[in-house]
Symmetry: C2
Subunit: 391 residues, 2 copies
């Protein structure tokens, strides 16, 4: 007798039964003979481990409950955020962030990566709050916390020491922001040094303005190669790629491949600038994930933390319309996103942890088109459908 | 004793009770003393009459169940569509279209306007099927049918007579397509003549390519003024507005205002071209609505017929982020959309028909952000929540 048998779900296009014993997937077969203590009828719906949201700013989420959006420049939005940030407490951050994690869990997330600002304004409150949240949601949604130098090190040199402390506290990786300091190269070097010191990955808000004068991707890729950090660094946004000539872009793609730089697209940025060309990156074999980025803060007052909304946005803006495009989009939300965040054992397969999300749709395209929510949530062998979805 | 009292719903930002007797709203008060045979707790959620989807192609929807999307040019997609269209039957069109109407109803629609291709390939099958659907859904979702010269009159001159027959059958208005015939002005004149002959409104897929060589908006506006058709004509897309110089655009806005040309934005067109500048149109006082346009056909294989998805897309692409932007977006989906389609008695107010849609959100921004579905549907005084939403 198995603990759970999930009957007739679609896994990567095949209809199968999934058998769970304890916290492990023990059978994936066209038809499992054995019965389960709990039998769930999947009704030929799509089943995945869960969605992966590669980039969020949980610490600054839901500020729109206390402040009004103003349609000003990016730096001015940064200033508005700093004003709020100076008043953040650990508890306050935790509460706001938890709302987004709950939204994501209800939408079927299995893993997210969030930045946590680290600077003299907020100190380590963001990192501490988000690490506490990571602990609380362990086994439900895996939360990776990047200690993030949002404000740069030139204006706030104490940030370097704070980042070190954040990593000592257990932050999963270190994050930089290539356009914030006048010496962007120095900024990159400092962050990469920290990554090496703590043997963690690094990620950068990379060339996020989309302006040609902000273009440090080649320098970063070069440094990755020199330091042997291939595949250990991620660029978020990389908007300047969209402003290059075809020849320059080709050179950039070569460098990205050579350095195995990973890329996260945050499509809501379309509200202010062109996005990195995701299809081109994918065609070149680059590992690309998608992130919700801002959730109801000064940069995106209508965000939610539901990554399939963001995938639909990208689908329209960059025309992910063919069957292959849909497959690519799907993979970015699932297996490729998981690979980008460094997970092993992602996927509904024998031996993997029993994390299963059944969506109310019969194909990936229907998930996007109908924005289909989960109908069954199993995490670590535990059926949490009623607890989380209230049904 | 009232038939239904809906307690504590938010109507245009005010918390009220709504009293219904028969098919009419008879009280809208902060607190209604009288009891209802049926009492519904609105839990301070947002209530509207329903959403208005101003533009759809129901007759060509859900072709992706029988054909594959191909990433080819617009004219080539047109050719693929014509091949399918030649095999359409009334029953086939009805069935596919009904799926979209159901999706819209479940998402809270109260009214939609759809084109129905009229040409020698499909004859009047589209118009007949959609008029039958209009009859079936009367009282639930109002369906306006535009007899549409999708293929133009130069290649298919019989179309003019077919349009006349469609209008005799009861099509609500006549639709043209300004870039399909070499003589776009002649096309416009023919459609406007039909509108006058049958005393119906006209709508045009207007300058939909976005290319400067396709720019008949000034001619159309001029003709509207000359013929006394101010406010009786709608332009769908108007993409070329985005390709004009600021000076030209200002002239265009003046003409739009002078002619009271109404405009429908179909934001999924962003997949291939820039959209008309909706904020500028609204700021100039133009009546603008939003449409889902294509639903799982050769032009949009991921469409759904859920207009709030499309509003979210527009919000990101044209940065509808301020409180006023959100209000404008909301109005396009509700009262302005209704005004554009010519409805009177839209809105939750005493004397209006008892159509009430309660959404699972406490503010319009939450409806967009969380893509909140309806939780209560009342149409003509009848609570159809369980019937339609299955809860």
């Amino acid at each position: 007798m198995l603990d759970i048998v999930l009957r007739k779900v679609q896994v990567e296009g095949q209809q199968v039964d999934v058998g769970i014993a304890g916290d492990t997937i023990v059978q994936v077969e066209p038809e499992i003979e054995e019965r389960g203590c709990r039998e769930i009828d999947g009704q030929n719906r799509v089943a995945i481990t869960g969605f992966v949201d590669c980039h969020l700013h949980l610490d600054k989420s839901h500020l729109m409950d206390r402040a009004s959006y103003q349609d000003v420049s990016g730096p001015e939005k940064g200033a508005l955020t700093r004003r709020e940030k100076a008043c953040f407490t650990e508890e306050d951050i935790y509460k706001r962030a938890e709302r987004v994690v709950q939204t994501g869990l209800q939408a079927g997330n299995i893993a997210i990566r969030t930045s946590a600002d680290v600077d003299p304004l907020v100190g380590l409150a963001g990192v501490k709050a988000l690490l506490a949240l990571k602990g609380k949601y362990a086994g439900l949604v895996d939360i990776q916390v990047a200690a993030f130098a949002q404000e740069g090190m030139e204006k706030y040199p104490e940030t370097v020491e704070l980042l070190r402390q954040a990593l000592q506290l257990g932050a999963d990786l270190v994050g930089g922001h290539t356009i914030i300091d006048a010496d962007g190269r120095g900024h990159i070097d400092t962050i990469l040094d920290l990554a090496r010191e703590f043997d963690v990955e690094a990620e950068f808000h990379l060339d996020e303005s989309g302006n040609r004068e902000h273009y440090l991707l080649p320098y970063l890729a070069q440094r990755m190669i020199e330091l042997g950090l291939q595949g250990r660094v991620t660029g978020i946004h990389c908007c300047t790629l969209s402003a290059l000539t075809p020849g320059e872009r080709q050179e950039a793609l070569e460098l990205i491949k050579e350095s195995s730089l990973k890329v996260i697209s945050a499509p809501t940025a379309i509200s202010t600038r062109a996005l990195a060309p995701v299809k081109e990156l994918l065609a070149a074999g680059v590992l690309v994930g998608i992130g919700s980025d801002n959730v109801r803060d000064f940069f995106n007052p209508i965000g939610s933390g539901d990554i399939k909304q963001i995938a639909l946005l990208l689908a329209y803006v960059q025309r992910f319309f063919t069957a292959d495009d849909i497959k690519q989009l799907w993979e970015m939300l699932t297996c490729k996103g998981a690979a980008l965040l460094g997970y092993r054992g992602y996927g509904i397969a024998v031996g993997n942890r029993a994390d299963v999300t059944v969506l109310d749709a019969h194909s990936p395209v229907e998930v996007f088109s109908r924005q289909a929510p989960p109908v069954v949530l199993v995490r670590g062998g535990r059926d949490i459908t009623t607890e989380i979805l209230g049904r």
